[in-house]
Amino acid sequence: MRASIDTTKCLANGLCESLAPGVFAVDEEDGLAHVLVDDLAPAHVAGATQSAKLCPTGAINLEES
């Protein structure tokens, strides 16, 4: 599974990095969330799925790779 972020929607509220710390991180310089890994490890899938569901602006997309 791969994750991507629509940076035009990102509000830097950091829900994603708190729910899936190894997958997402908000960068201090640009104030936007970034995806840290190409392919999600099985252990990351639950957190990433929850992030995609709870992201307030729906900025996270997940797709099967």
Binding site: K9, C10, L11, A12, N13, G14, L15, E17, S18, L19, V26, D27, E28, D30, G31, Q50, K53, L54, P56, T57, G58
Partner: protein
């Protein structure tokens, strides 16, 4: 408005709450539940709006800013009542007309909370960074030191009035520090903050209070106009300097009026809400000893506690949107031009979204899906800061204070508002932890 004859049911469920009866304010969730059960989208005659009480319906509205405008976030009744009173004030005391109209202009400039795209998105793009997780992490150490210093001031008494001695001062000092306001101006700052929210969810307001609010707006305006000029010349390591010098490629810089609107929202949002969150959480802990024991035994549960407190006692119980076209929500036609009131406090206890919604579950899987910070493009700008403040305050309080209880003769009263939920005071007793 195409037609005032609408198909939404009207209902009496909110009457005691809208009459601002203290018991109804304290247990607002009961009135919300009755409304959610009977008529999830209901016309509320007293407020001239549709109340939306189901989680899913609210999400639909919050995720559709093209249809639903934020231009009147505290609702049509508050706006109309205020305008009427201002007109009367102008006639009664024309000498203060200039102050009144100036105050009104500052109070109603469309910025962030009450702005729509594309302006709103431009504002957010310029300030999102300021409250991002890495920025807030850098603030944590001084925030923790502040929490300790406030506890130092009352710990020997083995009692405190928690609202005035902690939960007001804590976020106030943090936001004033972030803005770069000198400590000597904190009391003035708090007065402005209190005055700015008096009209929210309280239609029993009198003219003197309203006049005070507008005078405060003007004082605030003058104070920060000068501050902006200073920071333009001599930027410092603070939020005002960040905002004054903020630039984003292809975006117009902020106007002075936009900056003033922003600072006034930072002041209020950074203050009133966290104050209420902390007091509600402490009350919750004293009322549920097993919960207190659980978070004491395992402080890693504190973030979960903060989320549950936000969900169950959201400091902002609901805000409004205006429909810009005819639209259906939950099977009810909302005619263009109508206001809808999104009752976050109700959505947060909707059993369709949260299992056992009235109970605290520190490990709730969707704990962060509550609506206390709103949802969609207006999602609270300061949510990271609020979460950090809540967590750190509770860590320090539980570490330093044992046997926390509400003082025996204490009255538990809430502020008079059907939108803001906050305790007026919370007298506590405790012993100093060894």
């Amino acid at each position: 408005m195409t037609d005032t004859d609408n198909t939404a049911p009207t209902c009496p469920h909110l009457e005691p709450l809208l009459a601002l009866e203290p018991e109804a304010i304290r247990h607002s969730e009961r009135y919300f539940a009755a409304l959610r059960e009977a008529t999830p989208v209901a016309w509320i005659e007293e407020l001239q709006c549709f109340a939306i009480t189901r989680y899913d319906d609210m999400m639909e509205v919050l995720r559709d800013p093209e249809t639903f405008s934020s231009r009147m976030p505290t609702g049509p009744k508050a706006v109309n009542d205020t305008m009427t009173m201002i007109q009367e004030l102008m006639i009664e005391s024309p000498e203060i007309g200039e102050v009144l109209s100036k105050g009104l202009i500052v109070a109603s400039a469309p910025v962030l909370l009450n702005a729509d795209p594309p302006d709103h998105d431009r504002h957010r793009a310029l300030v999102n960074r300021a409250f991002s997780p890495p920025r807030v992490r850098k603030m944590e150490e001084p925030i923790r030191a502040l929490a300790h210093a406030l506890v130092d001031d009352f710990i020997e008494k083995e009692s405190c009035e928690f609202v005035s001695e902690f939960s007001v001062l804590f976020p106030l000092t943090v936001i004033a520090g972030a803005l770069g306001v000198p400590d000597g101006d904190l009391a003035t700052f708090k007065r402005w903050s209190d005055d700015f929210v008096v009209a929210i969810g309280n239609h029993l307001l009198d003219k003197d209070t309203l006049k005070r609010m507008l005078v405060s707006q003007v004082e605030f305006f003058e104070y920060f106009t000068e501050m902006i000029e200073q920071k333009r010349e001599n930027p410092g390591d603070d939020l005002i300097s960040d905002v004054v010098h903020a630039t984003v490629a292809d975006e117009e810089p902020l106007t002075t009026m936009e900056m003033l609107g922003m600072f006034s929202q930072f002041l209020v949002a950074g203050n009133e809400t966290t104050t209420k969150l902390l007091a509600s959480t402490m009350l919750m802990l004293t009322e549920q000893p097993e919960l207190m024991a659980a978070v004491r035994a395992d402080p890693s549960l504190i973030p979960g506690l903060v989320e549950e407190s936000l969900r169950l006692h959201a400091p902002v119980q609901g805000l409004y949107r205006v429909a810009d076209r005819d639209v259906e929500v939950g099977g009810v036609l909302i005619p263009a031009g109508s206001s809808v009131w999104l009752l976050y406090g109700s959505g947060n206890r909707d059993e369709g979204e949260f299992t056992q919604p009235d109970s605290v579950d520190l490990e709730r899987e969707n704990s962060r899906g509550h609506l206390a910070f709103g949802q969609g493009i207006h999602y609270c700008l300061g949510s990271n800061l609020a979460r950090a403040e809540g967590r750190i305050a509770l860590e320090v309080l539980l570490e330093r204070l044992d046997d926390i209880a509400v003082a025996e003769d204490a009255d538990i009263e809430y502020e008079i508002s059907y939108i803001l939920r906050g305790l007026r005071e919370l007298p506590l007793t405790f012993s100093a932890a060894r």
